[in-house]
Structures are given as structure tokens and as C-alpha cells.
Amino acid sequence: MNKAISTRLTFAVAILSLLIFIILWQVIAQQGLLVKNFPGSFKTIGSLIWWVSDPFFDNGPNDLGIGTNLLISLRRVLIGYSLAVLVAVPLGVLMGMSKLAQSSLNPYVQLLKPVSPLAWLPVGLFVFRNSEITGIFVIFITSIWPTLINTAFGVASINPDYLRVSKSLGASKSTTIRRVILPAIMPNILAGMRISMGTAWLVIVAAEMLLGTGIGYFIWNEWNNLSLENIFVAIIIIGFTGFILDQFFGFLQDKFDYSI
């Protein structure tokens, strides 16, 4: 099939399925088929337009524009996440290079990785006595494991030829790390960073329900207002933002894919 036609067809199918979804939703809600007072798609779209048309207002912590809340969440994620990457990459390189580091750190990684980061929230509150820092701390814990594990794996499975070239030239350890190992494992680091970002974006919503402000708190707040259509608005915004973040890393991964 012609590529242009096929793209257009895919697009048309997507639009069509969206329309069907919106109509079905509206009908089901209007007829009260699910529960009474369930917001329909028209009402939700109306709310979405209302929130998006003035996203940055600030009438106190319980009445913030959705854009303001989104920025608060993004800020927490970006700070916690960046700190995590700054720790995870060097630590991962160390674990990949040194058997001693691997065997002394791996038990902690394996033990802590499966724990929901939300379990750290009370610990953060107790230690920092500050909800902002606690949010960042929870995101830090969330983001560290995938990047750490991917980095360590990348170093451990690096093509030995690169290392042999470096060694045969008499390169120092620091040159080898900077000029050979780090670029060689860039795809692994980015894959880890992509997973970390995805998880961080999942966790921030839950964490913020307990912390106040941010898009997660927005949901909690609208639940207290019993405004389900606003919760749907938040879900759409969160999904869209997560998608953009993920696409950004997809783009970076393509850039650093040496095989293509």
C-alpha cells in the first residue's frame, strides 16, 4: 500500500475510534448505565476546555490552575529524577566495572527495587519535615533503580573489543570511562532513564495525593469536591504529559542507537 495513503488511513481510523468512544461515553453516562451522575464526555470536554483556557491561575493552594499544578509536579519530578540520574549513572558504572562494588551493592538494589516508593514517604516526612523535599525524595528513590540497573548491565555487557582497543593504546582508566565506556553504554543509560521517567511520572500522582499541591493533589481535591469530570481532565492531562516525556526519551534513544 502507498505509504502516504496508509498514514492517512491510520489517522482516519484513530479519529473515528475517538469519536465512537466519545459518543459511547456520552450515551452511557446520559442513560445512567454505569452509576447515577457519572459525568458524560461532553461535560468532561467542557471542563477540559475551561481548565486549559486559563491554566495558570492561583487562588491559594486548594484552587490552582491545572497548568500551575502540572508545573509543580513536573518540577518535583525533574529535580528528584535528575538527582537520581546523577547518582545512578556513576554508581551503575562502578557496579558494572568492579566486582567488589557489584557484590556489595547488589543486595540492597535487589531488596529495595521491588518496594513501592510510596513506602518511603513517611520516612521522608519524618526526616525532612517538609512535603516539598519529601516529594522530591520519593521521586529520587523511584527513579534511581531502573537507571542504575541498566547502567550497570550496560557496563558489564560492553563489547570487549572497545575496551581492548582502549587498553592497547595505553589509555588511562579515566579516559576509558569518559571516552569509551560512557558513550558505549549511552543506549543502556537512556533506556534506563526512560523507564525511570515513566515510573516517576506514575508515582508523583500518588505521592502528591498525600503531600498537597501538584497534579496528584488536584485529583484528590476534586475527589473531595466530588467533581469526577475534573478528575478525568487531570487524567487526560497526566496521560498527555507522560506521553510527551516518553516520546522525548524515544527521540534521544533513536539519536544514540549506534546500530541503525
Binding site: Y162, K167, A184, S259, I260
Partner: protein, 288 residues
């Protein structure tokens, strides 16, 4: 650093350029945690043993043997990439302690860094070996060696955009750019098709004639060894491979790949090599 002194040293001194004394390499199994308390029992795989070999300056030496005989191990030891279990390696009268820029290494799989362009791959080697050189100097020198292997136009291409033969030419340029005394090649043409291989063999010969270097070539191709070498070192089948024979190839240079095959001397050595390889390969295949 010691390169200068070695270049000054004349050939009439009483040692050869490269000397291997009773060289042996045993690969020990990695100790498991549970084994820590059990003493002794250091059994391992002995790849090569009692290797004694002398290689003269600016000669072309091929090492040939059945697969798995430890040829690559031997080359890695000379390159300093692995440490021998016993014996020593002496270059220009000095025992080597590790890898060094006096030896350029060429690997079978080219070992180009895929995130660097052709010229950057060479610049990486130059920057590592000559940290004092300016950027312009490095670029200039990298260009010169790319030109030497006829790839100046591909200088901004990435390895994935090059054919296997082009990649190996870049690797040769990289190895020579650091001005080594010795070129160590581990089956460099093994992964190439026959035509490309012939082309690169001729290319290598002309490069070798122009840049005076000692070449140690690992190969399993009898024809390749005969076409290129001054001396062919035959290794027995592993484990515990030894050098079974050294044959000097006193065929006139430059050698023409078509004419050489009519030479009775060539045919005589070839038959000898074939017999040896067949015998050793049989030893490998029938053991397992």
C-alpha cells in the same frame, strides 16, 4: 617514550626485536565464593606453553595453527592485553609490562567505536597516545593516515556506513597512526569476502613496504601466510599448544599473487603447511 631509544638502537645488537621466552598462559577458572576456603586445586585451562620465538625488526611473521590453538592468546600476550602465566616477552631488550603504543593492534571485528566517525576513531587513538599534540596536529595526522588507506572521503562517515573492508582499513589507519614499531593483527581479514580480502592483503603489503614496521599476523589461511610473510610459525593444536615449526618463506618480493602460485618453492611450503594443519586439525576434531 622508550620508542625513541628503540629506534636508535641498531640492528646489530645481540637481541632480536621481539623475543618470547618460555611463554605460557593458563586460564584459571574464576573462583566461586564457596571455593574460597578450599585451598589448592587451581586447575585451569592451559592455552599455550613453552613458546620461544624470535622475530627480527621489520619482518612479516605469520602465526598459523588450527582453530582454538591459542594463536589469539599469544597475540594478546604480545600486545600486553593479558599477562602471561609464565615466561616473558622482550621487545628491544626490555621485558614488557603491559600494553603500549609501540604496538598497534588490529582486531578481527575491526573494533571501531560506533559513536565516532572514521576520523574521530583515529583521533581517539592519537589523543590517547599523544596527549600533548594540538587539535590541528591530531586532525592533520588522522587525515594523513586515512589518505594512506584511501578513505579520506569517508572521514566523516560512521562505521555503520562503511563496508567490512573499509572498516578494517580504518582500523589499520588507526593502528599505524600512533607510529608503532610493531603491528599485531588478529585474523584481520577473516570476516571479509575473498575479493575484499585479496584487495586488503595487497594494500597491507604496500603499506608495510612504505611504513617500516614489524608485523605479526594471526591467520588460518595458508595462502595468506605464504603471500605475506617472511616467516611462518606453526602452532600445534591446543590445549597446551606449542610452536611446532618455524618456516622461513624465501620467496622473492614483491610477490605477485598469480605468479607466486606457480613457484615450486611456494608449492613445497604450501604442501608442508597443509599437511601440518590437517594433522593438527585432525587431532582437535578427533579428541572431542
Amino acid at each position: 617514550m622508550n620508542k625513541k631509544s628503540s629506534k636508535k638502537s641498531s640492528s646489530n645488537e645481540n637481541y632480536s626485536h621481539l623475543e618470547l621466552f618460555n611463554l605460557g598462559k593458563i586460564f584459571f577458572k574464576e573462583k566461586k565464593f564457596i571455593d574460597f576456603r578450599s585451598k589448592g586445586n587451581r586447575s585451569g585451562f592451559e592455552a599455550i606453553k613453552d613458546i620461544n620465538l624470535k622475530i627480527e625488526k621489520n619482518t612479516f611473521v605469520s602465526i598459523i595453527g588450527p582453530s582454538g590453538c591459542g594463536k589469539s592468546t599469544l597475540l594478546n600476550l604480545i600486545a600486553g592485553l593479558q599477562a602471561p602465566t609464565s615466561g616473558k616477552i622482550v621487545i628491544d631488550g626490555q621485558a614488557i609490562k603491559g600494553p603500549g603504543p609501540d604496538r598497534g593492534v588490529i582486531f578481527q571485528n575491526y573494533a571501531l567505536m560506533p559513536w565516532l566517525t572514521t576520523i574521530q576513531n583515529i583521533e581517539f587513538a592519537l589523543n590517547t597516545v599523544f596527549p600533548a599534540k594540538t587539535k590541528a596536529d591530531v586532525k592533520e595526522r588522522a587525515r594523513k593516515y586515512l589518505r594512506m588507506v584511501g578513505l579520506e572521503k569517508a572521514s566523516n562517515k560512521f562505521p555503520k556506513e562503511l563496508s567490512g573492508g573499509m572498516k578494517q582499513r580504518v582500523a589499520i589507519a588507526r593502528a599505524l597512526s600512533i607510529n608503532p614499531n610493531m603491528l599485531l593483527m588478529d585474523e584481520p581479514f577473516g570476516a571479509l569476502d575473498a575479493l575484499t580480502r585479496s584487495y586488503l592483503q595487497d594494500e597491507l603489503l604496500s603499506i608495510w613496504r612504505k611504513n617500516k614496521v614489524t608485523v605479526v599476523l594471526i591467520t588460518h589461511s595458508i595462502e595468506e601466510a605464504l603471500l605475506l610473510s617472511d616467516k611462518i610459525v606453526l602452532m600445534s593444536s591446543g590445549p597446551s599448544a606449542i610452536i611446532s615449526e618455524e618456516i622461513s618463506v624465501d620467496l622473492e618480493r614483491p610477490r605477485d599473487r598469480e605468479k607466486i602460485e606457480q613457484d615450486p618453492k611456494y608449492l613445497k611450503i604450501k604442501m608442508r603447511l597443509e599437511k601440518h594443519l590437517l594433522r593438527e586439525t585432525r587431532a582437535v576434531e578427533e579428541v572431542t
